[in-house]
Symmetry: C2
Subunit: 416 residues, 2 copies
């Protein structure tokens, strides 16, 4: 069999899936099964749960100003520990395997410490061991190497990026991301008990759901998967289930009869900011938002009310809770640049989003959403829409009621 090119599979396991050696034992079983199914396998692992926090704690206890190069060198040990442990366990159980650190693969990055982008992945070493020895490649996720030979990390969700990028480089037919959830849900099951796992989801839908609060896959890794057409599947490490497959538009049989709405998301990290009595002249919006953009503060929903007779208007927008204090300071500081009558900030709001590719061809989804909310007496504060998403800002007390009502109204409940 050696020498013959087999189909390739990348399997990625996150922090809770590699929390201890008992969990790692479960991974060995999963890897063996895929080898027996005829794949050459590359595994990407995260740091063991809690390990990254421990390392961050060490650094934060030691310095005021963090040297990004050293911080990356420190944090990358977490994935190195998991990769070497899993490789030795696989070997011990009779499965040829070796660990690959970022610099060994090599996974070349642009050298931006703490948030590096992958430039190139050398797969010659891994591929040679696939064909000569049928050897499993256990790759430390999240880490790469700069052209100066320093360790770099890829930032949040970095191991997912490693897995998707490695799938591209190896031409893997599938990239299985094992997580602590069963896949993408029609809604967060802690909020909507009748939520179900979505069998197939479009890349764009998953992006909208991710950016609307469903924390399954990091946005960057979905974007990369979409760009290169990587067949990503999100699965549970702990339960046997089909998970969620990410598919391109037009792919996937089940999507032939797809729902108009694929899923719902609720984000509780929103604040509503209102500037009342702003002068309604050209350029004022850019005056307001440019300083925020300069500081990389994401402004999500913007509504400008119709101008009143006095030539003034109200401007409402939403920002992430973590940014709201900074936004408040900036708006107060800049009051003379764009005079306003009153600044009010409402932290007690949530954003509810309906996502679905079907919206493109089905009119009236937004209208139906507003009706459902109105029936429950829920007041909509701000609305925004995109081609495949409708989002509303509502009072946080109504969040769960809105989610459950919409879930039922759009036919997403389990068993339907």
């Amino acid at each position: 069999m050696r020498g013959e090119k087999k189909p390739r599979l990348v399997m990625k396991f996150g922090g809770t899936s590699v929390a201890d050696t008992t969990r790692l034992e479960g991974l060995v079983v999963r890897v063996r099964r895929e080898l027996e199914a005829g794949y050459d396998v590359a595994v990407v692992v995260s740091a063991m749960a809690g390990e990254t926090d421990r390392l961050v704690g060490l650094a934060e206890g030691a310095v005021r100003v963090m040297d990004g190069r050293e911080y990356d060198t420190l944090l990358s040990t977490g994935e190195q520990v998991t990769a070497s442990l899993l490789a030795m366990m696989l070997s011990d159980r009779g499965i040829p395997a070796r660990s690959w650190l970022g610099w060994q693969i090599p996974l070349d990055t642009d050298g931006r410490h703490g948030r590096a982008c992958i430039e190139k992945i050398g797969t010659e070493g891994i591929e040679r061991r696939f064909s000569e020895e049928g050897m499993v490649a256990v790759c430390a996720g999240f880490q790469g190497v700069s052209d100066r030979g320093r360790v770099t990390t890829l930032g949040r969700g970095g191991s997912d990026i490693t897995a998707v990028a490695l799938s591209v480089a190896l031409g893997a037919g599938r990239c299985d991301i094992y997580t602590d959830v069963k896949g993408f849900y029609t809604a967060d099951p802690r909020i909507v008990p009748k939520a179900r796992v979505i069998g197939e989801i479009g890349y764009e839908e998953s992006l909208e759901l991710a950016s609307s609060g469903a924390k399954v896959l990091q946005v960057r890794s979905v974007e990369m998967a979409m760009r290169y057409g990587v067949k990503v599947r999100v699965l549970s490490s702990f339960e046997e289930c089909g998970g969620t497959s990410l598919v391109g538009e037009g792919e996937g049989g089940a999507r032939m009869e797809k729902q108009v709405v694929t899923g719902l998301a609720m984000s509780t990290k929103e604040c509503r900011v209102t500037l009342a009595g702003v002068k309604d002249v050209p350029g004022v919006a850019s005056e307001v938002f440019r300083p925020l953009a300069d500081r990389m503060i994401d402004v999500d929903m913007i509504v400008q009310s119709v101008s009143k007779q006095d030539g003034k208007t109200n401007m409402t927008f939403s920002v992430q809770s973590e940014d709201v204090d900074e936004v408040e300071k900036m708006l107060i500081r800049d009051r003379e640049k764009f005079p306003y009558e009153e600044l009010s900030i409402d932290k007690g709001v949530v954003k509810i989003s309906l996502v679905g590719l079907g919206m493109r061809s089905h009119a009236g989804v937004a209208q139906r959403m507003f009706e459902v909310l109105a029936e429950k007496g829920i007041n909509i504060l701000v609305i925004s829409t995109s081609e495949i998403k409708v989002s509303v800002l509502i009072g946080e007390d109504y969040g769960e009621l809105a989610m459950r009502s919409l879930h039922t109204a759009f036919g997403l409940d389990e068993g339907e």
Copy 2:
């Protein structure tokens, strides 16, 4: 000042010296002092105390058969954590610094995992940063890289080896090894309260003391220092003191008037093995010891008594306690090859050694030793001597009495 070549110093800090960030803070002070004294500084660090044990525990809990390559990859993270933490602390305190992992230096080894030997150290990168930026090199000890690009570790005492080898490669004028003791003592101060720190000691003396039970420096690193004439100094991380300087013969002013005996050591890990009634024919000793040598079992002291009239003799030797069970099994197994009347094993013995370069030119040291022990009524079981050492095996109950008596008799007590 940049561009001018400064004298160079290597400083090595062991596990207890880097146990936490408070300890690391102390290192920053010491490094700063040496920079201000005009040195370019390379620091070699071990894993934080307890960290290596934690990693070993992870591996031992996971596998039956250890893959040496993965084990090295796992263990090397300990030193990586310390090196990156210290480098970020130095930078944070205004001292330019960067960490160097084994593969970054590069520290090339022969690839024997778990006990690699250093083949070559590339110093171009470190030296360039010395001269261009006055940058402290914080090197992860214990680790190197094989010609296959895998992480290798140097085995026990590996960070001391890294420090000495780096001193050779950098042409450092001094190599300061910071430990949790003040230096080499005339005897273990826990046993002999009047013991003092030895200001200067010959390489060979320190080797004899080390192999006789004084655990200050690993034998391999002393041998390398001796071979290349590296000026090693052993110091305390926790107290200000002069420490012990290792010097070649003929070096060092203080040694002009040196003591005949430099120090005493006691090893409690010895067992006495006696084969009574062995046939006294040529070749019998080799029959007895060859199988032990084949198994890498170290036989230390050997005494064969004068043949009795029946043509039989008694053969006594000492082995390490950890080997004695295996030795017993082998001797019982091989009884038909070299018949003997009785095998007896005495685990209740200790070895006391007197070490001193002065013995070469001063006769009667051994004789004086025997007298002192006789005066205290201590029975000597086995004797062995080398050019600069006399060792005796005695009953363990007499160990402390013998050490204190000899320490006084040879003029080593503090204040003398």
